[in-house]
């Protein structure tokens, strides 16, 4: 078995995905599969129906056709199993092969294994591996271990799909009956075809069953084959083998060269990193080589040789600088190996370019100018002068424009020139609150309120409320405490009444300060009254 020849993408798949792979395989080789299928099954269909017609038992033909399914299953399996390895047989070849291929296990499949739930999974074991006895039992056990459930469900689904197709084909005819005649037609079909079918209807049903089977059975076999392939891929790590073979092939092709190249590349790496002139020198050499010697395919070779020399010289020099007296030059063998590695074609690819050149070069032929056009020369010179100066003028205009409008494009090109945006001016309301709180706070608040400085009044009130909170709690608030922090702290108060009042004062202040929603004068009065009321406990 040559896995390299596989035409299937191998990767770990779930059992259901494996059935999809089988379907994809059947689709890929559809022409061959159904061609051979027709060649094999159609004669059997005609023969069986003819025989049973003679016996007067037409239904028997349908049953026998169904019973013979394992025999027909060999057709898609024969094609798929060979197509997987890139050797898909032709229709005639596949049909001919059915005469002798895979009959050995057919007796079992047509008798005690006919109703086996994992038929399409296990057919490949018998037909492709040809095992029998204890070895077959062992193989089947291993194969079925994790896939028998899916395989059985596959059979169940395939049987139902075939039934669906049967009904669909029968009803496809009724679809074309106009709606007005639908009930009559359905009744006629029921009476004539289902209740007491005439002979032609029985034969028609056999034909329809064969059609449905022909459509579904290759897919069922394909699904089982896909599961079989997937299971073997799991058990024998086919995908790993393929990857290993590719890897081994790559390694053996480059093994010797690669090993040396790795040694040569890794050993002096730090020295190169520290010594950039080496690399620049190399580039210069390359450029020189290119400029001096332009004789076709020598370029690559010259450059490569110079590069080799350069590489051979550079590392020891810089290594000596790094290691000083401790440096010991590499042995002859290493030098030779490194040279050999650099001589490898992969490192210094040389290509040969073939160019056609005239055998006899006649310079006169190319240099000769048609004398008739000589008079055009002054005209051409004049035009050239004009356009040249026009271009210069255009350039000057562009430069002027660029300078004139630098304000617009300069910030766009670089944000370094962008001026820092000034923040919007802040509107400062001078609240000019007194340093000390007034003794009669309500009076002061009312005075401010009457003056029309309501916000200042509320601010004063809020400040007093916070101060009272501080006093009640006995510890000062941190500077810059927000209203929310004050409210949280107020919750710790023992004095529930003041805590509620404080909350109301803060809310009034907040709506005024942040939403410009001033409290009603009556509301303010109520707050002030509560403020002045004698405190319960204190």
């Amino acid at each position: 078995m040559r896995l390299e020849g596989l035409t299937v993408a191998l990767r770990p798949r779930t059992a259901w995905e494996a059935t999809d792979l089988g379907f994809a395989l059947v689709r890929r080789h559809a022409g061959r599969i159904w061609g051979a299928w027709l060649l094999v099954t159609l004669p059997v269909l005609l023969l069986l129906n003819g025989l049973c017609l003679l016996l007067g038992q037409v239904w028997l033909a349908g049953l026998l056709l169904w019973w013979l399914k394992p025999v027909f299953d060999r057709v898609p399996l024969y094609i798929l199993s060979r197509a997987v390895f890139g050797a898909a047989p032709g229709v005639a070849e596949a049909a001919r092969a059915q005469l002798r291929w895979g009959w050995r296990s057919m007796f079992a499949w047509l008798t005690w294994r006919r109703l086996h739930p994992c038929r399409s999974l296990l057919l490949p074991v018998d037909l492709l591996e040809g095992l029998s006895g204890a070895r077959r039992r062992e193989r089947v056990r291993v194969l079925q271990r994790s896939t028998s459930g899916t395989a059985a469900l596959t059979l169940l689904l395939a049987v139902n799909m075939e039934l669906m197709l049967n009904f669909s084909i029968v009803l496809l005819g009724l679809m074309f009956v106009p709606v007005e005649f639908m009930s009559d037609a359905a009744k006629a079909v029921w009476d004539n075809l289902i209740q007491e079918p005439p002979l032609w209807a029985k034969l028609l049903f056999n034909l329809i069953a064969w059609l449905a089977m022909s459509l579904m059975e290759p897919f069922y076999v394909g699904a089982g084959f896909g599961q079989y392939l997937n299971r073997r891929t799991q058990l024998e790590a086919w995908d790993v083998e393929l990857a290993f073979r590719r890897l081994a092939q790559r390694l053996s092709a480059t093994a010797a060269v690669l090993a040396l190249a790795v040694l040569a590349a890794f050993a002096p790496a730090p020295a190169w990193a520290e010594d950039p002139p080496g690399a620049e020198q190399l580039l210069e050499e390359l450029a020189k080589a290119g400029a001096q010697d332009s004789s076709k395919d020598r370029i690559g070779g010259m450059a490569a040789e110079r590069a080799e020399q350069d590489l051979a010289d550079a590392p020891p020099r810089s290594l000596r600088r790094v290691f000083g007296g401790q440096y010991q030059p590499d042995g002859e063998a290493f030098e030779a190996a490194a040279k050999k590695a650099y001589a490898d074609g992969d490192l210094n690819p040389r290509t040969t370019q073939v160019v056609w050149e005239p055998r006899e070069r006649d310079p006169a032929r190319f240099d000769a100018k048609p004398p008739a056009l000589q008079w055009l020369k002054p005209l051409g010179n004049g035009l050239a002068f004009l356009f040249e100066n026009a271009l210069w003028i255009l350039l000057a205009v562009l430069v002027v424009l660029l300078i004139r409008y630098h304000r617009y494009w300069l910030p766009w090109v670089s944000d370094r020139f962008e001026r820092e945006r000034q923040p919007d001016p802040v509107q400062v309301h001078d609240l000019d609150l007194p340093e000390q709180l007034p003794d009669d706070l309500p009076a002061a608040v009312r005075a401010l309120w009457r003056e029309g400085r309501q916000r200042a009044a509320l601010a004063l009130f809020y400040r007093a409320a916070v101060q009272r909170l501080d006093e009640a709690l006995g510890l000062p608030l941190p500077p810059g405490a927000t209203e929310a922090e004050c409210l949280r702290r107020a919750r710790r108060l023992d004095d529930g009444d003041y805590a509620k009042l404080f909350t109301r004062i803060v809310r009034a202040w907040q709506s005024a300060a942040y939403a410009r929603r001033l409290p009603e004068p009556a509301e303010l009065e109520a707050l002030l009254a509560a403020w002045s009321a004698p405190r319960g406990a204190a």
């Binding site: 035409t7 770990p12 259901w16 792979l21 197709l165 058990l235």
Partner: protein, 228 residues
């Protein structure tokens, strides 16, 4: 000839090829059967309750039947990330053809198109369409531009056995390191003979034969996995 596979490749604007594992007719049919069983079960249980309410109950029953038939797939697909309970059980998901989550319009269209897929009876057209199409789309999927994909990861192997790490004698690209790690992760499913056979394919890396080669390869895998 390209390799046969079930992947549908979608290229994103960033130039990344997404690999969608399009699901075939068999797992989709299995998911459909589960969804059907759930709906019939719900309908049956409710019908017992509605039977007590006489003709009004019968009306309720019809409304329930209607909403189960048309609402069930759409609601689950849009709200549960493309998965009805049946699809969830089978590890499937409905996505747009470009791999994005399915939206209301696409889901409603693909489910309304069931009326066409059901023709002539029992999803005949849908089945044939799904068998023919490369990505197993039924007609509704083609019209709505959707795809049913596998989301269940195809693992099934165990962690790589822990052995002392062996540093690689050669630098290997990621894909080849991956193959060696895959060998280690799946080694427990392989027979010892097969393990040796595979390990002996890489004499350049193992410099040994037989069981020693297997151990070296496992050690390499451990070093690629970053174990000590």
């Amino acid at each position: 000839m390209t390799l046969v596979d079930t992947l549908t490749l979608v290229e994103t604007p960033e130039g990344i090829a997404l690999r969608l594992r399009a699901a075939g007719m068999l797992p989709r049919a299995a998911a459909w059967v589960i969804d059907l069983a759930i709906r019939i079960g719900v309908l049956w249980v409710c019908a017992i309750g509605f039977a007590l309410a006489g003709e009004f109950g019968m009306a309720l029953n019809l409304i329930l039947m209607f909403s189960l038939t048309w609402g069930y797939p759409v609601l689950f697909e849009v709200l549960r990330d493309g998965q009805t309970p049946g699809k969830m059980a089978l590890g499937l998901r409905v996505v747009n053809a470009n791999g994005t989550p399915v939206g209301w319009v696409a889901s409603i269209v693909r489910n309304l198109m069931r009326t066409v897929d059901m023709l002539p009876i029992l999803y005949g057209f849908g089945l044939v369409s799904g068998l023919i199409d490369r990505s197993s789309r039924r007609l509704g999927d083609i019209v709505a531009g959707t795809l049913v994909v596998h989301v269940e990861p195809a693992h099934g192997h165990s962690a790589a056995p822990v052995v002392p790490a062996v540093p690689s004698p050669l630098p290997l690209p990621a894909a080849e390191q991956g193959a060696i790690v895959a060998f280690a992760e799946r080694s427990r499913q392989l027979t010892p003979e097969r393990q040796r056979e595979l390990a002996e394919l890489l004499p350049q890396l193992t410099q040994a034969r037989g069981a020693v080669a297997v151990q070296r390869l496992l050690g390499l895998a451990n070093s690629f996995l970053g174990r000590d």
